[in-house]
């Protein structure tokens, strides 16, 4: 039960759920939530490889830390863009954002 395949399947499931959410949602915050799910699937994969296969068990944990840092930066930028977009368009619907096209 506690094997490499279990974790890889859970990671793949989270990644696919994130893709479904990314295509299905129209609100920008919903899409941001889906992206966070995909990043978490990736970091589960890194940790599983680190636990079961890697020669040095500290490296996978460092990679996961880096993924968390990138995710924090991405969330900060995305949320500020969403807030700015909302001030301009009064909506966070992705189809309204097409008005930004020149």
């Amino acid at each position: 039960m506690n094997s490499l395949y279990t974790y890889l399947f859970i990671g793949a499931l989270l990644f696919s759920l994130g893709i479904i959410g990314l295509f299905m949602r129209r609100s920008l915050i919903g899409m941001l939530i889906a992206v966070e799910l995909m990043l978490n699937g990736a970091s589960i994969n890194f940790m599983a490889f680190n636990r079961f296969l890697a020669p040095d068990p500290a490296v996978g944990q460092i990679y996961t830390l880096f993924i968390m840092g990138i995710a924090a930066a991405e969330a900060a930028i995305a949320l500020s863009i969403i807030v700015a977009l909302f001030r301009r368009l009064r909506s966070i619907n992705i189809e309204r954002a097409q008005e930004l096209r020149g």
């Binding site: 978490n40 296969l53 020669p55 830390l65 968390m68």
Partner: protein, 176 residues
């Protein structure tokens, strides 16, 4: 009897099943309901489950970081962004079934490809495997071998936060 009931292996298996259930339920709640506040709560649930998975993978430090950074910082800032925007209880248009079906088809396709890759690859552990899981080693690697990456990540984070402040403040100064 009690000893058998609380056998350590059985408790560990039950805990693992609970954590997996928490993760998947949270992921579904993060995608399915229309109200976006429920989505954020489901995301927090899912990330807590992922922290439990990291605990089962033998790394309490990363589990703690997951709780601190994701659940404690990212979810809270998403909640703040929701509170800054318009109340979302206005009647939303119905979700188009064609879009949902297409998204599900793409997601299931990606999942099947990933599963076939996982199943048909012959995973081999490294020949020589260290067993040094400690936080001290992580810290030493961060300051010696992964020094440059660490600094670049800090710089990216700094630039991102300053940019976020600028973007959200700039729109306020300029009347649209």
């Amino acid at each position: 009897m009690i000893q058998q009931l609380f056998h350590p292996g059985l408790v560990a298996e039950l805990g693992f099943a609970l954590v997996v259930l928490l993760t998947l339920t949270g992921a579904v709640i993060a995608l399915r309901p229309r109200n976006i506040l429920y989505n954020v709560l489901g995301l927090a649930l899912c990330l807590t489950g992922v922290a439990g998975l990291f605990l089962y993978l033998g790394s309490p430090f990363i589990a703690l970081m997951q709780l601190l950074i994701y659940v404690g910082a990212i979810c809270i800032s998403i909640v703040f962004a929701i509170m800054l925007s318009r109340p979302l209880h206005l009647s939303l248009p119905k979700r188009r079934p064609a879009k949902v079906g297409l998204a599900s088809i793409v997601g299931i396709l990606v999942f099947m490809v990933l599963c076939s890759v996982v199943t048909f690859t012959r995973w081999q552990p490294a020949a020589v495997r260290g067993n040094d899981w400690s936080i001290a080693t992580i810290g030493r690697y961060l300051l010696t071998r992964y020094d440059l990456v660490f600094e670049v990540i800090s710089l990216v984070l700094l630039v991102a936060i300053i940019g976020a402040i600028l973007i959200s403040g700039y729109a306020r100064r300029r009347p649209s």
